[in-house]
């Protein structure tokens, strides 16, 4: 399913003394199958953009197209359930949304809201709990007796069980240990491939953005500052540093090597293996470059 944001503007608490412009003139294209990473500082408007992807908020200007549904500032939308079923959002600290008596019931909650039968929902719950790397026994426990990391996974399973076409992740690994981070990111990456999902990842980690995304959008002060493939974005690290953002370790290293060799590499490498290969080429057949 394609999602398009066109010149979207959003003001919080419009027409009150607390009015605040959150995003302005944001245009983002999200064709089916894209893995987009949204990067930016806290308060740059990432989370606001994300809420538009699922029609949780209505733009104060511009249009949002989600599949066949168009959302404009003045149109009243009655039933958005079909949109929400197809776009699953994993919010920041999703464990705060758990409420049922058992993990199983909580995971089934989403699908059953969208009219999936109880039997099917339970089957989905079993699949989802395995996808997030937990065992089936946990299904019968209360979500409130789990550890923080387990709760996070259960909450994620609750969104996966809705079987959305687009999955939106708002810093899904914040506050997890390094191992848990990697597990969860790998799981999303493989899901993305297997199910041919569209994925939107809001993150502070340049490493994750460069490793998993095929498109990166950089937000700054409520606007999209730059858009492009990871290679394009990271080929010009000076601009990123100006915005106070980091670049991945690999890119950093490449730039150090380049200044040490006094030469430019043929491309911007996004993995250590790539970089090693490029460096080898440069050292062996340096003259041809």
């Amino acid at each position: 399913m394609d999602i398009t944001l066109q010149n979207v503007e959003y003001r919080y608490q419009a027409n009150t003394p607390f009015e605040r412009l959150a995003i302005e003139d944001v245009s983002i294209d999200l064709p089916a199958g894209t893995f987009l990473a949204l990067i930016g500082h806290t308060g740059s408007g990432k989370s606001t953009v994300l809420q538009h992807l699922n029609a949780l908020i209505k733009p104060t200007k511009g249009t949002v197209k989600i599949g066949d549904t168009t959302i404009t500032p003045n149109k009243k939308q009655k039933n958005l359930k079909h949109v929400r079923q197809r776009v699953g959002i994993v919010f920041q600290f999703p464990e705060h949304q758990l409420f049922e008596e058992t993990v199983e019931k909580d995971i089934c909650f989403g699908p059953m809201n969208f009219g999936v039968s109880e039997q099917e929902a339970k089957a989905r719950a079993r699949r989802a709990i395995q996808q997030v790397g937990l065992s089936e026994e946990i299904l019968l426990k209360s979500p409130f007796e789990l550890s923080g990391g387990q709760m996070r996974r259960v909450a994620i399973a609750g969104v996966l069980a809705m079987e959305p076409d687009v999955i939106v992740l708002d810093e899904p690994t914040a506050g997890l240990d390094p191992r848990g981070r990697q597990d969860i990111m790998n799981m999303f990456a493989s899901l993305h491939q297997e199910r041919n999902l569209s994925t939107v990842l809001v993150t502070h980690s340049m490493e994750d953005a460069s490793r998993y995304a095929d498109q990166i959008a950089i937000m700054h002060n409520g606007k999209v500052e730059r858009k492009g493939t990871p290679a394009e974005i990271f080929s010009n690290p000076e601009r990123l540093l100006e915005l106070g953002l980091d670049v991945p370790e690999v890119v950093n290293l490449q730039h150090k090597l380049e200044s040490a060799f006094g030469r430019k590499f043929a491309k911007t490498c996004l993995s250590m293996e790539d970089l090693a290969e490029e460096a080898m080429k440069l050292l062996k057949g340096g003259d041809s470059l």
């Binding site: 027409n15 809420q51 359930k81 959002i89 409420f99 909650f109 409130f144 969104v159």
Partner: protein, 265 residues
């Protein structure tokens, strides 16, 4: 949808009302609540309305904002009005249609009582809009100070109040967040039959309770870690100062009461 709520919210501005001593504001509100009951005819209510709107103007809080924020309260006011309209059976009949009869006294009382109610809410809103929660509790603590002599836990009460006021916006934000998360999971908070709507509240309330308890516990730990041991021997960083404007404001209210007493029938 929570964005327009104004209860417990502070609108920073530079105005006479903002600069008033919280003690005088509290006394003023307390007296106003009594004074409102003096009014009993059109002239006295007109005087009250003029006074209240003068206060709103002085506070420099946008009128539109206050009106928008009080929308939920309007419902309550209208409800009071309707109750009085239909349940009071005194005076001349002014309207009759089948089983519905409206009496003159009912209309009069309905309008006056809901107006009284409305003015009280407006004035108390001005208090919370122009005074930070900390100022309010500071003021309350000093005003209630004498009660310490009879072992009344004034400090604890003030602390409880400041904590609950402080967390209203936090709780609102949290409510909004969880509502969005559950909406994304297919809950419909805004429509559908009553039964469905009541059911929709559960996935909202339980996470709110859980996080509130957690937050309370963390707050207690944090306070203890910073050496909090109750009000005994605690000094104040913010000193309250009573200024001429505070006295003037109280005199203004006194003048209003005199006018009301003269005009009342």
């Amino acid at each position: 949808m929570m964005e327009k709520m104004i209860f417990g919210r502070y609108v920073p501005a530079q105005s006479i009302i903002h600069r008033m001593d919280p003690r005088s504001k509290l006394i003023l509100i307390f007296l106003f609540v009594c004074v409102v009951f003096i009014a009993n005819n059109v002239y006295t209510y007109a005087a009250l309305i003029i006074y209240t709107f003068a206060m709103i103007l002085l506070s420099k809080v946008p009128v539109r904002f206050i009106i928008a924020g009080l929308k939920p309260v309007f419902l309550l006011v209208i409800f009071t009005l309707i109750l009085h309209l239909f349940l009071t059976r005194e005076g001349a009949i002014i309207f009759e249609l089948g089983p519905i009869t409206i009496y003159e006294e009912g209309l009069r009382q309905g309008i006056f009582i809901s107006l009284r109610f409305f003015l009280l809410i407006l004035m108390t809103s001005i208090l919370t809009l122009t005074t930070t929660p900390i100022e309010i509790t500071d003021g309350l603590e000093t005003l209630l100070g004498p009660l310490k002599k009879v072992k009344f836990p004034v400090h604890e009460l003030a602390l409880m109040m400041s904590i609950s006021l402080r967390f209203i916006p936090t709780l609102m934000g949290e409510t909004d967040k969880i509502m969005k998360a559950q909406t994304a999971r297919g809950v419909d908070f805004s429509g559908g039959p009553i039964k469905e709507r009541v059911k929709a509240v559960i996935p909202l309330l339980i996470p709110l309770f859980v996080s509130s308890f957690k937050r309370a516990e963390e707050l207690a730990t944090a306070m203890e870690a910073r050496g909090y041991r109750g009000g005994e021997g605690r000094t104040k960083y913010r000193q309250l100062s009573w200024r001429i404007t505070d006295t003037m404001m109280l005199l203004l209210l006194a003048a209003l009461s005199v006018i009301l007493i003269l005009l009342r029938t």
